[in-house]
Amino acid sequence: MAYPEKYMYTKEHEWLLVDGENGTVGITDYAQSSLGDIVFVELPKVGQQIEAGSTFGSVESVKAVSDLYAPVTGVVTEINESLNAKPETINEAANDTWIIKVTLTNTDEVNGLLSAADYEKFVSEETGH
């Protein structure tokens, strides 16, 4: 399954795992595949305030730069610093490679995100196949 059902998704191709008020954020398999070889991840700082729909960092492949969008509003509690040395981990296992962890300010925001099935449908509509 390309898009695990335990995650919620954004239309900007991030996934979010929610456990109470704790959230974990990564990018989807579709996102890594579209980007190609990832060579650089720009991470936020721990303690940084992020806002749903705003950018909190970026992912760069050889060819392109893509902003990272916060799925929810909150405060960054952890960043995956191993991505500084091995950004290609995202290509190898997008679903298992988290980028940031956040404390959610408003857990209701999660209801506005896409389920795995809705995200898969969204991707297929976006790519036309």
Partner: protein, 391 residues
């Protein structure tokens, strides 16, 4: 199966179905539906540097000039001195506007006495053909033909390119020098133009076979099969771009355009002001030279701090003043450095000058380094052959 269908508005090469059926990632490149990558950009890049890769470059255009005045026509049209070419030889050149900026950069081949082939860029094909007809309008003794659609052009590039292609032709490839060409039977196609040219900074060949789909896909498959023992990969335009960037070769619309002149682009060595023909753009370039040279120059930058300079990013002096712009920037997959080509005022063009590239609002330090960023190693003697001699 809808991904096997090309949007109608895009042009496609005869290998389009092959690319799509092999799951290449396709993009719109200058109006062409082209593969940007097959297995992965970095893998493809490394295959060409270390082994061999094959590219479909059939989107490139070709203009043939024939007739008793064809040399005069070429000399008026292009900045390099074509009178120096022998039959079977090619060189880098460019078509210029009157003000010394670029219509396009080209590779000129002397096919025979009074017979020349100009290989032009895909995105500028119509413009180039119109320009040629306009410049040569009224000139007698030269016949201009757009032969772009006659050929499927494959670039076989890398240290094992010769060994790969040699399996497909009876022509001895070893004596063909860099930027020379010959004709021969390749994959059963007679009179195939075989040129030792490319756009990757590696040794390699470009072959021009008939553009019908059955022949094109058969030759593509035979090249892949011949290269299998060397680890050949089919490559897309993504790797082609990073390969040419590591080798600091110009790309139209980036390092060269209608707002950049020859001396700014550091291509003066291919521009022969004194060739004795008043080619289009000569007077303007003579004036630039007489005035002491250009005010800005193309330089190679290597990022010192963490960050990747990309096409269009501003270049700043260390005091924050905006001084120029990146024309092409990317990680260099082989040299493993973040590199860029950029225009800066000549005062900032000296080697080791520190500047900054503005990466999404933040200045990231870079320095001016020599180009090309990558130079292929000089050919060393084959160790196996050496052993035979010694024993």
């Amino acid at each position: 199966m809808s991904d096997l269908v090309t949007p109608i508005s895009l042009r496609k090469t005869s290998l389009n179905t092959v690319h799509r059926s092999h799951k290449a990632k396709m993009v719109d490149f200058g109006g062409w539906d082209m593969p940007v990558q097959y297995s992965g950009l970095i893998d493809e890049h490394m295959a060409v540097r270390e082994r061999v890769g094959v590219f479909d470059v059939s989107h490139m255009g070709d203009i043939q000039l024939r007739g008793p005045n064809s040399l005069a026509a070429v000399q008026k049209l292009l900045m390099n001195d074509a009178s120096k070419l022998q039959v079977g030889q090619a060189h880098y050149s460019a078509m210029l506007y009157e003000n010394g900026t670029f219509v396009d950069d080209v590779v000129l081949h002397k096919l025979g006495e009074n017979d020349y082939l100009i290989v032009i860029n895909a995105g500028t094909r119509e413009k180039d053909v119109q320009w040629v007809r306009k410049v040569l309008g009224g000139m007698s003794g030269v016949h201009v033909t757009d032969v772009s659609d006659y050929y499927t052009q494959l670039a076989i590039q890398g240290p094992k390119a010769k060994a790969t292609l040699q399996k497909l032709t009876g022509v001895d490839l070893a004596p063909i020098k860099n930027y020379w060409f010959t004709w021969g039977t390749v994959c059963g196609c007679h009179n195939t133009l075989i040129a030792r040219t490319g756009y990757t900074g590696e040794d390699g060949f470009e072959i021009y076979v008939p553009s019908d789909e059955p022949t094109s896909s058969r030759v593509w498959a035979e090249v892949l099969a011949a290269g299998e023992e060397f680890g050949i990969l089919p490559c897309g335009l993504g790797a082609r771009n990073t390969l040419r960037l590591e080798s600091a070769m110009a790309l139209y619309g980036h390092e060269i355009s209608d707002s950049i002149n020859v001396f700014e682009a550091n291509l003066g060595r291919y521009c022969k002001l004194d060739k004795g023909v008043d080619f289009v753009g000569r007077a303007a370039l003579q004036a630039v030279q007489d005035a002491g040279g250009p005010e800005r120059k193309l330089v190679g930058l290597e990022m010192i701090e963490r960050g990747i300079g990309r096409d269009g990013y501003p270049v700043l002096a260390l005091n924050g003043e905006r001084i120029g712009e990146v024309t092409s920037g990317s990680p260099g997959p082989f040299i493993k450095k973040n590199i860029a080509l950029a225009y800066v005022p000549v005062a900032y063009a000296a080697l080791d000058t520190e500047v900054a590239v503005e990466v999404r609002g933040q200045p990231v330090k870079a320095k001016v380094v020599p180009t090309p960023f990558y130079k292929r190693p000089k050919k060393t003697q084959n160790v196996a052959e050496l052993h035979v001699v010694v024993s």
